[in-house]
């Protein structure tokens, strides 16, 4: 809500924009403006990010020493469970789509708003209802199953609040489905004249692919949660062998969503990175169509690899072979993206403002995260490293190193557009560096721990004190990382009051969103733009004779 109240009053020359057109709580809570809803999401997910981060910090503090001394085992188990649930369902999944996607998709394709503005607001309310339920669940006892809810532990053995947490995720899931639906319809139906599919920014392609996963995958996890609740509350035999069920069925259903969910987190981030790299190397993206189609390929193949989480779960050897093979297939489009981004830098004119530093950070961390995925997809290695810290390190490199770096890069890149203010560049570069160093310090030791055999989700490792040194490194890194994440929040808030006013296009970037005012007016464009150029037409922009009709908000 800080966004609503911290608006500087009474600057004489301030133009009317989406922030100052209306004031008051009601004008925010009942808004259908995609930009205001994006800010509602921004405030809410930031809140959940710091809750999840607080849990993470407690986890790392507990693991500083081998014995279970800071918190009891039960508390520790709840901490990692709530950390996972909050971060996955209430931060990472909505992060880029619901904030930057919501804010930018209509503007990037030259539309006034999303196709269904009221459904957009509804999706935020669903998110908030789910979030409040999750908060209530956490405050009244929490859950201790891990975010994975494995049965029959979750349905028959734990006495924590499974049904309530499940319902919270169920409700928030509909928020995700509605956002995806809205984006797909908007991208199909609302593009400005001349904005053909091959002229769309790669950010739009990435969100299109993400939306497909949200629509097709989320209902499956919703159904699975209902089945868990039914077995737990009504003792229907679905997953519990004592009731005639099959516990592996749960894992299949869960990962059918939860593996593609990783792509919900990383694809939008890839879209952000494409925009940033193009802008700060002043070039069109190398192999535009390959980068665009690789997003779709990831979305499609992403649905065919779920059981690589289950190589030691008791599945047949032949099923494991198929899923290992398909997992390598999905690695190819990700590799193609990295190569294309790298090639984009070739013969560029590269600038090093903070968004670009985050994009470089993304490339470094995502590369490591992706390549360690090759170890896990490899059957012979996976047997040893699955369910160890190797996996923990791997997915944090993707979901935090990759997705969060992209998110922060995007926040910096579009902050002038969102807030109308410039952030302090020096601090932002420093924060990017701190995050990168802190991240590696936290998670790289966990690869080593994993291969040494330290299992994940251990409150107490006093039987194996040899693991302590690496855990100390990891905990030390997490405090650095925490500082790195706090900094942007502080200086973004600071800049809303004290930042220099942002010009309409501070980066001299391509893309229709930069042809609007900073901040934009409620309907973005004063007249509908007509697009006659390719995405990333930096040559025209930099040579200064862009002959297109300049549509200014």
């Amino acid at each position: 809500m800080a966004t609503a109240t911290a608006q500087p009053p009474g600057q004489a020359i301030e133009r009317e924009n989406y922030l100052n057109k209306h004031y008051g709580v009601g004008s925010w809570l009942l808004t259908t403006d995609h930009k205001r809803i994006a800010l509602l999401y921004l405030v809410s997910i930031t809140f959940f990010f710091f809750i999840g981060g607080f849990f993470a910090l407690l986890i790392r503090l507990e693991l500083l020493t081998p014995a279970s001394d800071l918190v009891q085992a039960d508390t520790y188990n709840k901490l990692f469970t709530m950390h996972g649930m909050v971060m996955v369902f209430f931060f990472l999944i909505p992060s880029i789509p619901a904030t930057l996607g919501n804010f930018l998709i209509p503007m990037q394709i030259g539309a006034k708003d999303l196709a269904f503005p009221k459904i957009n607001l509804l999706s935020w309310y669903l998110y908030i209802i789910g979030g409040v339920m999750m908060l209530h669940c956490m405050l009244t006892g929490g859950v201790d199953t891990g975010w994975t809810f494995y049965t029959p532990f979750s349905t028959a053995y734990t006495n924590t609040k499974i049904v309530e947490a499940g319902l919270a995720i169920f409700v928030a899931g509909f928020s995700s489905i509605l956002t995806g639906l809205n984006f797909i319809v908007t991208i199909h139906r609302m593009r400005a004249p001349g904005m053909t599919w091959t002229r769309m920014p790669l950010f739009i392609w990435a969100h299109y692919a993400t939306s497909i996963i949200q629509i097709l995958g989320t209902p499956v996890v919703a159904i699975t949660i209902v089945l868990v609740a039914a077995e737990r509350a009504l003792h229907l035999g679905i997953f519990d062998p004592k009731l005639g069920g099959d516990p592996l069925l749960f894992q299949h259903l869960f990962w059918f969503y939860s593996h593609p969910a990783v792509y919900i987190m990383i694809l939008p981030s890839m879209g952000v990175v494409s925009e940033i790299i193009a802008c700060f190397s002043r070039k069109r993206i190398f192999g535009y169509s390959f980068v665009a189609l690789s997003s779709i390929a990831i979305a499609v193949f992403g649905f065919l690899v779920w059981a690589h989480h289950m190589f030691v779960a008791g599945m047949s050897v032949y099923a494991a072979l198929i899923f290992s093979l398909l997992s390598y297939a999905v690695a190819v489009p990700s590799a193609v993206k990295v190569f294309n981004w790298t090639a984009t830098l070739y013969k560029g004119s590269i600038h090093y403002e903070a968004p670009m530093l985050y994009a470089f950070g993304f490339l470094g961390l995502f590369t490591i995260g992706g390549l360690t995925g090759l170890f896990l997809a490899c059957l012979g290695i996976d047997v040893h490293v699955t369910d160890t810290y190797f996996v923990v390190a791997h997915f944090h490199y993707i979901m935090v190193g990759g997705a969060l770096m992209g998110y922060l890069g995007g926040m910096h890149f579009w902050w002038p557009k969102i807030s109308g203010k410039l952030y302090p560049e020096g601090w932002a570069r420093l924060a990017a560096l701190i995050v990168f160093i802190g991240f590696n310090l936290t998670f790289f030791p966990q690869f080593l721990l994993g291969y040494m055999g330290m299992p994940r989700r251990y409150a107490d490792y006093s039987h194996m004190p040899e693991f302590q040194i690496l855990n100390v490194f990891s905990t030390a890194g997490s405090t650095v990382l925490g500082v790195g994440y706090l900094l942007p929040m502080i200086y973004f808030l600071w800049s809303m009051r004290y930042g220099k006013p942002a010009p309409d296009n501070p980066w001299n970037a391509a893309g229709l969103e930069w042809q609007t005012a900073s901040p934009p007016t409620t309907f973005n464009f004063e007249e509908e733009p007509v697009v006659t150029w390719e995405a990333y037409n930096y040559e025209e922009i930099d040579s200064g004779h862009k002959q297109e009709v300049h549509v200014v908000g």
Partner: protein, 343 residues
């Protein structure tokens, strides 16, 4: 070479060497890929940094290049896949004449029962150089049997057997972990694997007071009245179990299954589901009447009926451990068939 490397796990099984070799190969491949990407990134970032008056050179893309960097990685990935698959296949296929250990996991302990009859808790003694097959099940939630020094891990599920195997190569004491989160004391569900020289192991086994597991199973088999129908001739109302294990069985519904541990287990606990062709659905279910330990013993007994020489099993003075709760199981089971087996 790596045995004394500080950040490397101990290596004490036949599998560990295979996994480490593959891991080192992957480390080299991924290090090369990382070096390639990072060198290009850093070189381009430095070489093409912004200079006034030097504009970026626009490049559309290059289909040959796209194909190159799709196909070469795919080729490398396929090598990794095949190598990984071979290692995995070996790790998942127990040699035929392995010594067998039955594992029952429960919150939060491991119960281990040797085919020779020794019982242990959270500790498993095995000799160097012998193939050991683990036949595992859980009494409650999913657990995972993980020995890092052996590079071996297998989830342990309630309601069925999962199987794993190893051959220890170096005497010593190694960690046993539960690797699948299983509740409050998950991190306390740890134990040790004691690998001994054959002579030491011989001495250790002779210390135990119990007879082979299959003998216990034979006793339970008789006490539960199984032998009234499953006779050793062809006159019984149930199938003759001699020589059944490890062979194909024709089912009443037309399918054919191989009689492995899971099949025998299922026949005891849910006899109707995979009924043998030519027999009536008259066998009662023993679900809830026999403990996991008793099922294991029965399975071991049925298996022993298919091993003519029984070379792996030592027949020392048989002194079957009487089991609590057995009487109850017995009285319940000998009565009329229950309704559940008719399907």
């Amino acid at each position: 070479m790596l045995d004394n490397f500080p950040l490397w796990p101990q290596r004490a099984s036949a599998m560990a060497g295979n996994v480490d070799a593959l891991y080192i190969f992957l480390l080299i491949v991924t290090a090369m890929m990382t070096a390639l990407i990072f060198t290009a990134l850093i070189y381009f970032a430095a070489r093409y940094r912004y200079r006034p008056g030097v504009p970026a050179e626009q490049i559309e893309g290059s289909t040959p290049l796209e194909l190159t960097w799709s196909i070469i990685p795919l080729g490398v990935f396929m090598v990794i896949f095949f190598w990984g698959a071979v290692v995995y296949f070996k790790g998942r296929t127990p040699p035929r004449d392995s010594t067998e250990v039955y594992v029952v996991a429960k919150q939060w302990m491991w119960k281990l029962e040797h085919a020779e009859g020794q019982r242990e808790i959270n500790e498993l003694h095995v000799p160097v150089g012998r193939d050991v097959k683990l036949i595992m099940t859980s009494q409650d939630v999913i657990h995972s049997f993980y020995i890092p020094a052996f590079r071996m891990k297998q989830d342990v599920l309630p309601g069925r057997y999962t199987v794993a195997w190893f051959r220890a190569t170096k005497p010593g004491t190694y960690h046993l972990f539960c690797a699948e989160y299983c509740g409050t004391q998950h991190s306390g569900m740890v134990g040790s694997i004691v690998v001994m020289d054959p002579a030491q192991y011989e001495a250790w086994t002779n210390g135990g007071p119990t007879g082979p597991l299959s003998a216990t199973g034979e006793k339970i088999f008789a006490e539960l009245g199984c032998s009234t129908c499953h006779r050793s001739d062809s006159q019984g109302r149930g199938p003759n179990l001699q020589g059944v294990f490890g062979h194909p069985v024709a089912l009443a519904d037309g399918r054919t299954v191989t009689a492995d541990e899971n099949y025998i287990r299922e026949c005891i606990l849910d006899p109707g589901s995979k009924r043998v062709k030519g027999f009536q659905p008259i066998m009662p279910t023993f679900q809830g009447l026999v403990s996991e330990d008793q099922v294991n013993a029965l399975v071991a007994y049925v298996k022993s009926l298919s091993k003519p020489a029984d070379s792996g099993i030592k027949t020392s003075a048989a002194e079957p451990a009487p089991q609590a709760g057995q009487e109850k199981a017995q009285s319940g089971a000998q009565n009329k068939p229950k309704g559940s087996q008719v399907n």
